[in-house]
């Protein structure tokens, strides 16, 4: 696996609102919260009420784990020990393909790409994969680029060509 993360230096502590999400990840499911009353979806699951209708009657939607890179950063200077050997790495905001609502609301998630930093670009499709950690209860989602599109926007190329 490219760009390894030392998960032994990271302790994930699920809580009452998130433990089902982490159990989903353990089963290689990428879940988002879904309101049982109005159908609104969101991420992360730390928020325990529907921001559209205030219902707290909530379930989960299992996404296909596919989306498009909406923005990204390239971390060069690590702050969390687990990532000291990973730098430089790309954290991307990914807009999920199957969470677009009728009023235009979208659900975006974020995660670390497995790809080399030069490959990252806004507009590229990517898909989730799951990595085991030292803790058998915790499986971490990662993302990888799974296609190409015309006009994908890469920061280094933009800067080199820029005005």
């Amino acid at each position: 696996m490219a760009k390894e993360i030392d998960y032994s230096k990271l302790r994930i502590l699920p809580d009452y609102d998130t433990r089902e999400w982490w159990e989903g990840a353990r089963q290689h499911k990428y879940l988002v919260r879904q309101c049982k009353q109005c159908g609104h979806r969101w991420f992360p699951p730390t928020f325990p009420a529907c921001s559209k209708c205030t219902s707290m009657d909530l379930g989960w939607f299992e996404t296909a784990g596919k989306g498009v890179i909406h923005s990204y950063v390239e971390v060069v200077q690590p702050v969390v020990g687990a990532f000291v050997g990973t730098v430089p790495y790309i954290v991307a905001i990914i807009e999920l393909d199957d969470c677009k609502e009728a009023d235009g609301t979208v659900t975006r998630v974020a995660g670390v790409l497995t790809n080399e930093e030069s490959e990252a670009a806004i507009g590229l499709p990517c898909e989730v994969l799951f990595e085991p950690t030292a803790d058998p209860k915790i499986v971490m989602p990662r993302w990888r680029i799974c296609g190409s599109v015309a006009g994908a926007w890469n920061f280094d190329r933009h800067e080199a060509a820029g005005r």
Partner: protein, 409 residues
């Protein structure tokens, strides 16, 4: 005009030096800053009856400072908050004084922002050996995405994508604020830089280089707010509070990456109210302060507060527009980028000094308002400075503003 426009004033300002490290407690630093602000105002400790502060679990309290300085308070409060809190505490002070809860209020921030708790989970001496990711951190620390630079980098990157401008626009801000720091004896970094220096500095997190990031420091700073009636009896010409907005938020404030436009930041929701309250338009503003935790935060707030149109900030800042003697001087003390990081208080303090025409620069007569306006000789006083718009940033999701007026011009 707002019902309370010009009825309340900032009458005293004071701060410790910007230190790395301070080798002091936050209480010790706060006592120094508050004492200096009272001295500056010409107030005795017994003439203060309200004290407020903001912090993120990293500082002392108003009660400790009041105890140390022998001040008996009618009102005290310590709120949780970072950037954009100073201006909010000023708004809060106006309400308290107007309602009769207190008469004269000191607001302070004290932080060992470099040697103690750093923002974004950084610790002194290097990366966190083993990180506990609970609460919100479950969904950011797990993907190595914690610091303000890493977080704001996302909206900055999308801004570059959406507008076509490049990081040379960021450089303009770093250069302007450093130039002002070169005229400020208190600033940590005073050597002028060029666009090329910025472009050559090392990457921290793309799209941000080292010279896009503020100078984390250990510092305390304080300001004193009171009514116009009291202000006239004090040491300096009053600086009047014309209007503002306080910790205004976007929709979906906590996890702002699901907002439709990442760089549509909170200022967009506030400036029309603030300018209406102040009864001014942008062309009345002689200079600004614009929270520069990063160069980008200044850039996007100029746009969010209507100084230019959506997507235009990259062009707006070109050609040194934000430098003193140009169209819209910004962060005259050097700001967080070059003077030092105070979670915003220092910008309000500099604005007050500028509006009094008493910028503490190299001019021999600065303390009595005599300036040469000779930049080569180290004068940083804005000529004829009368109205200032201060714009503050919490995250993309939260912003404050404070429009001030001086009478010394």
């Amino acid at each position: 005009m707002g019902a309370l426009t010009d009825k309340y004033c900032i009458v005293g300002v004071g701060e410790t030096p910007h230190m790395r490290p301070s080798n002091r407690t936050t209480l010790s630093m706060a006592c120094e800053a508050v004492s200096k602000a009272l001295l500056d105002a010409g107030l005795k400790p017994s003439e203060v009856d309200g004290m407020t502060s903001y912090q993120v679990g990293d500082s002392t309290t108003a009660a400790h400072v009041a105890t140390s300085l022998g001040i008996r308070l009618n009102y005290s409060l310590d709120i949780f908050g970072g950037g954009s809190s100073t201006e909010a505490l000023v708004a809060h002070a106006i309400g308290l004084i107007e309602a009769g809860y207190a008469e004269t209020i000191v607001c302070f921030r004290s932080m060992n922002g470099r040697s103690g708790r750093r923002m974004g989970g950084q610790i002194p001496g290097g990366p966190i050996p083993v990180a506990n990711a609970d609460g919100d951190n479950q969904f950011n620390m797990g993907w190595g995405w914690t610091t303000p630079a890493q977080r704001f980098g996302m909206s900055a990157m999308r801004y570059l994508h959406d507008t076509g401008c490049t990081t040379k626009a960021f450089a303009e801000i770093a250069v302007a604020h450093r130039y002002h720091a070169s005229l400020n004896p208190k600033a940590r970094h005073r050597t002028p830089i060029t666009i090329e220096d910025h472009q050559r500095s090392r990457w921290v997190v793309k799209p941000f280089r080292l010279l896009d990031c503020c100078q984390e420091t250990d510092v305390s700073a304080a300001i004193v707010v009171t009514s116009r009636e009291r202000a006239y009896d004090l040491r300096h010409p009053p600086v009047f509070i014309m209007g503002g907005y306080a910790r205004t938020m976007t929709e979906n404030p906590q996890w702002n990456y699901s907002r439709p436009v990442l760089h549509y930041v909170a200022g967009n929701y506030g400036w029309k109210r603030a300018f209406g309250m102040a009864g001014i338009s942008h062309s009345d503003v002689d200079f600004v302060s614009c929270y520069d935790a990063f160069t980008f935060t200044t850039l996007i707030q100029l746009e969010a507060n209507g100084f230019c149109g959506p997507g235009e900030a990259g062009d707006f800042v070109k050609g040194g527009r934000l430098q003193i003697d140009h169209e819209l001087p910004s962060n005259l003390s050097g700001g967080h980028l070059s003077e030092g990081y105070t979670h915003g208080v220092q910008m309000v303090i500099e604005n007050v000094r500028q509006l009094r025409h008493r910028a503490d620069d190299a001019c021999p007569g600065w303390a009595v308002g005599k300036h040469t306006y000779d930049r080569a000789a180290g004068c940083r006083q804005v000529k004829d400075a009368r109205i200032c718009c201060g714009m503050a940033w919490g995250y993309e999701n939260m912003a404050s503003c404070l429009i001030l007026r001086g009478i010394a011009a």
